[in-house]
């Protein structure tokens, strides 16, 4: 397994902020595992490059950990809405030919893919 960000492993960063110096969580990236989770078939060289870049970006992004947020609720969405309902009524559908024609491979009115099992 390739770890492109080995120089970032097991490192405890310190970030000076207006709230004082706060110990941050170490950025520990198993870049090959992340690429597999993301379904990206990257070469070893690409993993190395992206791993290093990700380490740098995360080092910056982890500054968010320096803000005290005890008791602050997360915002996942800017609107104070919980759900959007509509009447349970059948509506118009796209004609299958309109999108099957745009697919890389189809058969018998369905999307066709290579074998599923290895």
């Amino acid at each position: 397994m390739v770890s492109g960000a080995s120089e970032n492993d097991n490192r405890m960063a310190e970030s000076p902020t207006r709230f004082g110096t706060i110990a941050l969580m170490p950025v520990d990236i198993d870049i090959a595992k992340v690429a597999k989770l993301a379904r990206l078939a990257l070469s070893d060289a690409e993993l190395e490059t992206f791993g290093t870049e990700l380490g740098d970006i995360l080092e910056h992004a982890e500054r968010v950990q320096a803000l005290p947020t005890d008791g602050v609720p997360p915002t996942s969405h800017p609107l104070p809405m919980v759900n959007a309902f509509r009447e349970d009524k059948a509506g118009e559908c796209l004609d299958p030919d309109s999108f099957l024609g745009e697919a890389p491979d189809t058969a018998e009115g369905q999307f066709r893919v290579p074998r599923i099992l290895g």
């Binding site: 379904r39 990700l54 915002t75 800017p78 599923i116």
Partner: protein, 494 residues
């Protein structure tokens, strides 16, 4: 007669109604402008000549019959290539969608067509709207019409360049962290991000769903209002669409700022911002004060963390949204011996460009077990703090103002090797996306390299009328009449 392509949308609409020219004349003028500028700019990815001509003819027939269905009837308008257009190639500037023709129109596109607009074509962007320079396009970069060695900003760089040179009378982009306002600032046009939920996202190829909004780019504040009005309003196809009457956006354009309280954001007037931009912003704030507003300093300390929070939230959402591009239902499929999963992983690695891959990896990591709370969860709590600070500020002031960008247009290639320096381009624009509030960039002058400077006006959610009221006064005070070099007569009539 002056070149029709130099008119604002409002002027073009008035001329159509006065019978001075036809929609076909307008289309011919912008098509000519596109032929003169595209070789230098590469702002358009697709020009839909046939569709545009049909729409212009239909508009002229309507006018001839005395039908008038609104301000964009017969007006040529361009669309960012991440907005789905029925039967017209939509790529989001990605190889993974090369050649894809959507089977439906985005709601915003459908509303423009229903309102009689003439869609000229699709404009270049950073792949999947990820970037701040329109250099991350699988089809080549767009250049800045003020200086072609410079970037036009991004990700809506094509839409901004088109509005700046007059190869359409206005355009639409999408803004996730500043992707409308930043390129508008860098190309000297007006660019506006609406309140989240005002414009349907149905048919906008998703980047970060809790932040994305479609909005207009134009050559005047009044044009911006007309374009926004055309696409706004509830859409049952977007679960985050606001189900309420659309507020009056342009009702106070002529009111002026007398009696208003306007806050200058302290954090965006110091370190990290070009001194020329700070002094231009300060001078405009002083003029707003002279025009009768009470201008005060407002500190928003959590904005210091907004950029970091954004670069966790946006990639997290993008890694989820872009999972749909897997070589099965549309777009690029890699030829591989192996299983479906092998095909998907290879198609994605070959089909996505480096910035998209970088953000998918970042988002996947930030959402993965063991890191979720420290990164994504914490970023969402910081988002709450940013929103709370904005809400508190709007108890003291009617609107906030700041520079739109830390610098004017930078050199092509200057930031491509350093993702973090590119991310800083969105420093002043990201907080409005996190808060879900409306914000607009208005050009107020040129720096000493003759590059445009943008001035940002922010308002609370659904405060578009207040935002436009201030923006209109800024536009009057700035009296910005300079034109991009590529739109000047020396280029137009060689």
């Amino acid at each position: 007669m002056a070149d029709l392509a130099d008119l604002t949308l409002t002027e073009a609409g008035a001329g159509l109604r006065a019978g001075e020219f036809t929609s076909r004349d307008l289309l011919e003028a912008v098509t000519k402008r596109a032929s003169a500028t595209e070789a230098h700019l590469h702002a358009y990815l697709t020009l839909d000549h046939e569709g545009a001509e049909r729409a212009a003819e239909a508009a002229d027939e309507s006018f001839a019959k005395g039908e008038d269905i609104g301000p964009v009837q017969g007006i040529p308008i361009a669309l960012k290539d991440n907005m789905c257009t029925l039967g017209v190639e939509t790529t989001a500037s990605s190889k993974i969608l090369d050649g894809w023709k959507p089977p439906y129109d985005a709601t915003a596109v459908a509303r423009l067509k229903e309102a009689g607009a003439v869609i000229t074509g699709k404009t270049n962007l950073d792949e999947f709207a990820m970037g701040s320079s329109t250099e991350n396009s699988a089809y080549g970069a767009t250049r800045n019409p003020w200086n072609t060695d410079r970037v036009p900003g991004g990700s809506s760089g094509g839409s901004a360049a088109v509005a700046a040179v007059g190869s359409a009378f206005g355009s639409f982009g999408s803004d996730t962290g500043g992707s409308i306002r930043q390129p508008a600032a860098l190309t000297g046009v007006v660019g506006m991000k609406p309140t989240y939920g005002i414009v349907s996202r149905y048919g906008l190829i998703a980047f970060a769903s809790s932040l994305d909004q479609i909005g207009p780019l134009s050559r005047s504040v009044e044009d911006s209002v007309l374009l926004l009005e055309t696409v706004s309003g509830f859409d049952p196809r977007d679960a985050t669409s606001i189900n309420a009457p659309v507020p009056n956006f342009g009702g106070s354009l002529d009111t002026g700022v007398k009696g208003m309280r306007i806050g200058v954001v302290t954090e965006f007037m110091g370190e990290g911002i070009d001194p020329q931009i700070i002094s231009a912003t300060r001078a405009m704030a002083d003029r707003l004060q002279d025009a009768g507003a009470e201008v005060v300093e407002i500190s928003l300390p959590s904005t210091e963390y907004a950029l970091s929070a954004y670069y966790l939230i946006a990639p997290a959402e993008c890694s989820s949204n872009l999972a749909r591009f897997d070589g099965v239902r549309y777009g690029y499929r890699a030829e591989v011996e192996g299983t479906t999963e092998d095909m998907m992983a290879r198609s994605r690695a070959e089909g996505f460009g480096p910035e998209v891959i970088r953000r998918i990896l970042l988002g996947t990591y930030a959402l993965s077990a063991g890191y979720y709370d420290a990164f994504y969860g914490q970023a969402q709590r910081v988002r709450t703090l940013v929103r709370n600070e904005f809400s508190a500020a709007y108890e003291q002031v009617d609107a906030l103002v700041s520079p739109t960008t830390p610098t004017t247009a930078f050199e092509m290639g200057e930031k491509t090797a350093d993702p973090i320096s590119m991310y800083y381009s969105d420093l002043c624009t990201i907080p409005s996306n996190l808060a879900g509030d409306p914000a607009i960039s208005v050009p107020i002058g040129l720096d000493d390299a003759d590059l445009p400077i943008g001035f940002q006006v922010m308002a609370p959610a659904l405060g578009e009328e207040v935002m436009y009221r201030v923006a209109a006064e800024v536009e009057r005070l700035a009296d910005f009449t300079a034109r991009a070099f590529l739109a000047t007569s020396e280029v137009m009539s060689p």
